[in-house]
């Protein structure tokens, strides 16, 4: 536990406290799990893992904490089309911005970072244009590609 960032307090304590939220064991466990995750976890996935470390935690707390984290912009909430939300730290362990490639056959999700630079550059320009034209303050974007992975492609 206590996933520290070098020395001192975990990186998120500051932002958390600054917004009037308290640091609790449950929240530490949840953030720890998110930080270590290498895939996109659902609320229940997180619950299972958290429960192993801290059996008293309830699913309700998972949902509440994820909601706060998403509002603070510390995590992204995704819908990959399978009826349950998935969560991911905004700045992953590697801090790499990525987009998703989703197989509609088996629901596999591939993170890719290729071409990201060109995409991001175009997005930046698009954002600027849209912000001006529609008087919108753009905060975030979502890009996903849907298709069939090689296995599902053959299977069909």
């Amino acid at each position: 536990m206590r996933a520290k960032h070098g020395l001192g307090q975990p990186w998120w304590h500051g932002k958390f406290r600054g917004c009037g939220y308290r640091i609790t064991l449950g929240r530490e466990v949840i953030l720890d799990i998110l930080a270590k995750a290498d895939t996109h976890l659902s609320a229940e996935d997180i619950y299972i893992k958290a429960h192993a470390q801290y059996p008293n935690i309830g699913l309700t707390t998972i949902y509440r904490t994820l909601d706060i984290l998403a509002n603070l912009g510390l995590i992204y909430k995704f819908d990959f089309g399978d009826g349950r939300a998935r969560y991911e730290l905004t700045k992953g362990p590697k801090g790499t911005h990525h987009h998703h490639l989703i197989c509609t056959g088996c629901n596999r999700v591939i993170d890719y970072t290729d071409f990201i630079d060109e995409e991001v550059e175009l997005l930046r320009q698009t954002e600027k244009g849209l912000a001006k034209k529609y008087n919108f303050k753009i905060i975030n974007h979502l890009i996903q590609f849907y298709g069939l992975c090689n296995k599902c492609s053959v299977k069909r």
Copy 2:
């Protein structure tokens, strides 16, 4: 009703029949509503409208038909983050491909077509690269921008 496409049968009858689906009154009503819609309708929105024209229709039929339509690629299914799916004809009345700008404050959704050409061109290239690298057959893409509209921006 009977939204014809010039002369002859409605444009979707062919694809529908070709896949072994039957043409029913309920389905005609639903497609008619989608074709006339100028916003992104939820299943319930469609149900309300359909029910006005054809009171016997059930919500179940709406869901089932939307599912078929999405599988046939005749409609897109979107998640704008408010807990209910929204549907839109793949080829709208104007046939314009567009992306979405979503206000996280009030859930308003703006369709935009600006910069679409550049976006689509970049996506095409990205798709090609991804398809090769990950051995994926890419069928579709999703691009959404999230932010605050001017009203919500001020309100906060």
